[in-house]
Symmetry: D2
């Protein structure tokens, strides 16, 4: 079953396992003429690096990207852009014993059920390393969106019960704090909380939020390609995400219409909304306001406490997972959520260019 | 932009506006040999009928489905199944005045932004009537799933602050109560609450939940076609849904790993999970447990209280919406959520049939 | 298996069988703002009507199209355009006896092999009436292409051994002659030839050619979406077509490079080719010259001479097909070839709008 | 515009330019459990190697494939299979002067028209080296087809006017003769003819034929996914192919129905056809007979004779192409045609598995 391709006009195909030779992505449909270098992509990849703080695994993942095709003399050519990262520091020996049992919260059992066996080294295709291709493609999408005036910012909204206070929003903090929270005070509390978790040999979940500004009205489609739906699929396709919200999200179910509706207002000849409960999307189509997406991420399933489970022989056993595992996935997922949002928005930007007959006639009679 | 087709192997294409001549769906990829009559589909369509209770609009929508193709002598032939419902009782005159202004919470503004103008009669393509095609296709998908041993049940989980108590779960109540709640006590409270809302000229949101039982392990794919992601897209593509949860959903973000992980257990030679926080999906692939999906639905945007907004000339105005509008969308969305879940699961069932080489060799050397 | 949808951005889904209730098409992705009426489509449908000449079946197919959705106040809205033609004059009784045997050259055997049984009335889904949806969609595509300055002309190039002489090309003749040849002299010879065929209870094949002028350079893509490949698929998806040629087509295999290469020439600041062996496509991308496509159509498989075949019981039998059947499919296929070419070119026009980054920036910073 | 992905369930995405760092393919949807090594793929790649005979360019293309993902302990895992071939012996200096002019018969002009500029080194994305990814994927598809009992044989049918005599068909000769003809006598004549061409500084076209045996009845779909149409697209997507034929192909247009129809015959309880004018496909669906596809390939556009053309400044100039170019593309295209046929047939095999409800019920109630 082919399931590693995402997008319609800006289309990415990822490949690779955590302990294979390499991981990568083929980006098909990127427009010609974009200045692109490995440095552009490396900046994004470096944001998902572990081994940098006390809450991150001491694994050294020195992921260096290589552009294999689609760029000529510093510009994209319109041909597919193939990006590859070699696996260098993976130690398969760490994973030997998990080959024979089903770790709770992991995909071991379901892979065996689907494929009959699995690449058990470090999660194989279901490893967090699979996101390398997404992030690399997200770097390209973001660069294009920036030229269109669209900017994305993702950050950790909460870790366990500790929530960032957005009234203290500090965009610098997102990149400088170990939790990627935009609020240094919350970051410190979250770090305390994580240390407790680690002492209890436990792990914890959290929330990543992504805001896109400068998005023109008109992206998305009224039915199955609703922008909400495409973003939802993008975000829920990230491992460990179990819920996605647009705008007020789950809060709409207890809201009243008088509170949830955003009044339109006209100021200086331009129309906007007084509030943004809708998260920038009405009827599946962007309304010109900021797009707001929220991803709920489950706790790292690898915990050091003993757990009940079953081995491949069908025997009930107890396991205590060893190795190096972060107590929280959230900070490393921030750039992944941003990347998937960028890829989805760019595709919607491209698809929107044929919404009106006048767009076609203008293009073929004037632009071209 | 083509956005009215959903699915890969079981593929549906919906069409139609609330006040056009008709609405319908083309189902492509349904296997040959399924007994199918208009009655099978009508049963589902009748579940989304309004005009039946005090909280429903007194509009009479007597939606009669017609099978136009794809069925011969009572069996599907493998050819596309075209289903149509004629619009009969729509009164365009009710909607005349909304042509010139942007109703808060509606898609009026975004349609104008995207297409330059809009079919303003009753929401046009963004009307709730667009779901007729989904529900009709869902009836076919459900019938096929039933032959595979898969059963779906959707119900209203909550309306505003009133939540059904699942310890009192009564599957009959889902069909008999006006709110489609599985708990008669909660239904009565919700009806009280809705009456208050109507008196305040306001509306309210709620939550629909859908459970699928009998789903074999192995559906879905590890990366972009994660079953969570495909279900998420399906559910978020329904108008008014602003959040979707799988299993424990948003609760995972405050859970710990030791609580969120579901221990595997072996009993009598078969493996299952002791709990089901995962909602039946691990690593994007079904694990054999019940699939649980939850949709958060916003309050009906059409409320009778006066609201600030803007007209097409860009003037700030106040509007008070007239006509017939339900104070809550939720009960009528129940069958839509069930339909979209069924369509998604059936497609995943079909795609799963090529996951292993032995499936292909068995088929071509034994079955065929 | 879903196989009734064609196209990426301009996407059509056809449905219906020859003796079902109706046939139709859903056009998804048509831009908003196109003036469209049933008359526009009827003009194309009338071109595929039988019963008009001595070589056509005396069946009266009075195919009246109905627009069911997607058009409001005379303009397309961007929503899917659903078009339907009711079947009115089909007589199922004519086809009763073919239910139990496999007609040579027909799809009876393969449908049974694939689906286990078939709708045997008049070919069911494999009937020539399936093209109604294609032609209706082609009318819409052609109208859009015309606004972009692109014009299509399809005609009968040959019937059996009788070939139109293009030095006598008369565009009026295409519509006025019974063979749809652009050369009245050839038309008369072909009519003589067809009469002989009918006397021999035999049928004959022929060639349809389609020329598109005004096509800008740049349509198509270098690899799998080569314009040649997309046109080839479009044309070979028409029943009875067994070969497709682009430009010089099969003649290239015996040509030399010095003769087959088209020299470029610059005149008054614009670049063109001195010859057009390439049929307007180089490296899969349109070169600004006329696009030339040629379809080879097999003889009508329904012939009145006795033929050896097998019945469903596996007995060797002889059949003599009865009923009303044209001795040649070609004239009625002309508008189908034109329609499929138009649909393919329009989709390529739309997809080309994102080929360069400057197209996106121009659109989002200037046009929009 | 995304155009580098082919297939629905067995899906390939190719990337790379002739003078970039590498070329490759991602194969998504290959079933788990197939034994696969680099050797399996290398065998196919070696068949497209140049530099082996007097009619081949003396370029040494030592294309070594590397499996980067999707294989674990010698078996495919169901995850995407990423294959890469590093470019090693490409000399960019040879191509410097073509950067500024448009070679007749090449894609130089159309790439500039589409993308605004081009990677001019050796054809870039439109180079014959682009087929490396197709051939590598074809090796995998062929191996799977073989396990299903399907065998493919492609060969050179003709070069210029020299046609192989199939009554002398020798399958060994296909691999041993420099022309890949199955007839040694024709091979020698063709070699003579090619030498003359080279002396005249000219090039020549030819025909590749591919036969698939063991194909079960039932592959393909009645409308847009006709097996003819999918094969046609596959073959016409290969550079330099300008016509494609199925079975009798162009000959059907001058045939009569009585000659073109293949009589069915029942022998020992199984049904077959007495002749195979249809090339194994009736109504778009395989009929159990051998599938026959024919590709017409144009002469190598790079010829050493002086040619008229235009440079980027728009000046009329004369060029004489230098470097190393084969006088004929055909022998190296043989394995490419075979690969694309294999990929198409495998996808059709997979899609056919859901054609009947009983296939689904058997799978979910018995197989699984």
């Amino acid at each position: 079953m082919a399931g590693s391709t995402f997008g319609t006009l800006f289309q990415i195909t990822t490949w690779g396992e955590s302990h294979g030779k390499a991981l990568g992505v083929v980006i098909d449909g990127a427009p010609a003429g974009l200045p692109l270098s490995e440095k552009d992509i490396q900046l994004f990849l470096d944001r998902r690096k572990p081994g940098q703080t006390s809450i991150s695994t001491p694994r050294k993942e020195d992921d260096q990207v290589e552009i294999l095709s689609g760029v000529f003399e510093g510009l994209t050519t319109g041909a597919p852009i193939s990006l590859m990262v070699r696996n260098t520091s993976q130690k398969s020996s760490d994973y030997g014993e998990i080959a024979s049992c089903y770790r709770p919260g992991h995909a071991d059992y379901t892979f065996d059920a689907k494929y009959g066996f699995r690449d058990y080294r470090g999660g194989g295709r279901s490893s967090g390393r699979e996101t390398i291709g997404r992030v690399a493609a997200g770097a390209v999408a973001s660069k294009i969106l920036n030229t269109l005036g669209i900017t994305l910012t993702a950050y950790t909204r909460s870790i366990g019960p500790i929530c960032a206070d957005l009234s203290r929003f500090d965009v610098q903090a997102v990149r400088s704090t170990p939790t990627c929270m935009p609020d240094e005070e919350a970051d410190q509390k979250a770090m305390e909380y994580l240390k407790e978790c680690m002492m209890k040999k436990d792990s914890v979940g959290g929330v990543v939020e992504c805001v896109a500004t400068g998005v023109p009205a008109g992206l998305g489609d009224p039915v199955f390609h609703k922008l909400d739906a495409d973003l939802g699929k993008a975000i829920l396709s990230i491992g460990a995400v179990k819920a996605v919200e647009i705008g007020d999200g789950t809060a709409v179910s207890t809201a009243t219409g008088s509170r949830n509706n955003d009044p339109f207002v006209s100021r200086d000849g331009s129309i906007s909304k007084k509030t943004n409960h809708a998260g920038g999307i009405l009827g599946g189509i962007s309304d010109g306001d900021g797009i707001l997406v929220r991803a709920h991420i489950k706790p790292t399933p690898s915990i050091f406490s003993p757990q009940e489970t079953v081995n491949k022989k069908g025997e009930n056993i107890e396991i205590a997972i060893k190795g190096r595992h972060d107590p929280v996935i959230v900070p490393r997922a921030v750039v992944v959520v941003e990347a998937m949002t960028a890829i989805t928005l760019l595709d919607a930007c491209m698809r929107n260019m044929t919404a009106r007959l006048s767009y076609l006639t203008d293009f073929y009679q004037k632009t071209l």
